[in-house]
Symmetry: C2
Amino acid sequence: MAHAAGVSQATVSLVLGGKWRGRVSERTAQAVRDAAARLGYRPNLAARSLRLGVTRTAMLVVPALTHEYFARVYTGAARVAAENGFGVVLYPSPAGIGPARDPFGSARTAIDGVIASSMAADALTGIGDGGLPLVMLDSDPDTPGGPPTVNLAVTDGIRQVVRHLLALGHRRIAHIAADVDTWTFRARTQAVTAELAAAGAPAAVRHRSALGVDAAREAAVRALTAPGPRPTALLCDDDILAAGACKGARTLGLSVPADVSVTGFDDLSLARALDPELTTVRLPAEGIGEHGMRALLAVLAGRPAPAVELPLTLVPRGSSAPPAA
Amino acid sequence: MAHAAGVSQATVSLVLGGKWRGRVSERTAQAVRDAAARLGYRPNLAARSLRLGVTRTAMLVVPALTHEYFARVYTGAARVAAENGFGVVLYPSPAGIGPARDPFGSARTAIDGVIASSMAADALTGIGDGGLPLVMLDSDPDTPGGPPTVNLAVTDGIRQVVRHLLALGHRRIAHIAADVDTWTFRARTQAVTAELAAAGAPAAVRHRSALGVDAAREAAVRALTAPGPRPTALLCDDDILAAGACKGARTLGLSVPADVSVTGFDDLSLARALDPELTTVRLPAEGIGEHGMRALLAVLAGRPAPAVELPLTLVPRGSSAPPAA
DNA sequence: TTGTAGGCGTTATCAT
DNA sequence: ATGATAACGCCTACAA
């Protein structure tokens, strides 16, 4: 390539690297660019990584790619990465289906940093101590000396749902809680209890359910057939649970929202596919990914990465209404 | 590292590369492995790529990652890749949200091959002529001299749906067709026409719709309010359209499936979140990814990659029933 | 303003 | 059975 342009490697590198200001003549630079275009020259990334010691690649660790939320986090992260000449590789953590190869083995030499999304606290052993720059998304709150975090204002989101239901006149609210031990779901559960108490409303009866439509349907049936007066609203930890809750209500011959209101959380596309559409809370999933990537970029550049908390928005739709008189 | 083990680089490479049978003494080999474990040694992938000229990385090009189908294709491809010591990077094609960086620029030196899923025919300019090994998923049928393909038996899937509806007694079927110019949707549309004709049934009135719940709802309303006798079944090109069709029917005060049957295609998790659950056709999405990766591996190894066609399965559920008497 | 040379960590060839 | 050495393509002092 340098040979084809009639100059040396060094000159080529200077010109194509963009830093030849006053070091290479304009005429020579143009000749190099011409030759590059003519030969379809592409720099070899492996060689560059080897020389520079960085790969301009980040790894995004997610519990499950098939969940729309994580796909959107990826989309946001990938966009910011691309804007900065970075790539993003995905690693569905072993909790899901574990790839055969340990990603943190040679990963240390293949990636510059890690963004971990919604991970259980112990799922990251092998990263933190690995000295690889790390950013946590939607995880435990900022700890001094810990990795930078990008979090969701989950408590405020739940607060909006609770107030929405109370404002509609509901007093007997059941909580369909996700039986998953991650920060985001623990925070949701705690917030439901706290917000109802703060409003002076009766406590919600809690029914735990695995994260799936069928399990949620069964939990909703349990909630609606439990002894005592029937709940008038089912507050669900996420949209998938809410979909199951709607089915459970109909199983019992109840109508949503006339007989029982149902609320979700996440605002997946599912929320608008259901009928009635789900009242839910919108999560800025792409924003989480974007901020996460920006935080990692900051860490990589040696800049401080302030902890971020993104706001959530209540989206009232057809699945919630005043309780029957 | 070699220094720490008291041997030469070459010996280390041999031992860790696994091909020292009868070339290095057992005692020396063990010493190398001990040193590697002690130092936490990790091979540098960039250096290996540089030397070997291959990266053991494949790129999966998809139109939209947020669609569950593609997330599952990725999952399948990534699993087979991992089993073979390969990685997979994702590239959401420009049709979606386009990254700033041209992936096919330096990609040629960063990846060994490309797997393209459900792409419009012209969206791959820049790959085919790039000399990069390519496998097409769910795309145009095998062309002599073209890239290997892994396809779905879409025509047979539609045939199963059509026969299911005819067997239930439906004669007036409307087709909610996706207004998307890719092979898979063209094939679905053609199959609907062909299968109805083959069965001697009346042709379906076709209503085109963008791929979204709202657009499909409007299309369904059009279909159900068109002049002439009302259709008793809505055959939809995919589950998202079907979700919209159900909403459209209810908008008109019609019940699914009592007044009108609705069928989908894809068997997304959405199909079981709806109420009633969707009668649909299951696509082996992960299988597509797995076979695609296997085909690419074959091409990379210089082996022939036979064209594959994966079977589809009808999943009858609550959204279809005999027409009202 | 341009060219020369060294080294990044690996693997492969060849010599010992 | 093991070691020395070259080469992969790039970037960057340093020399000319």
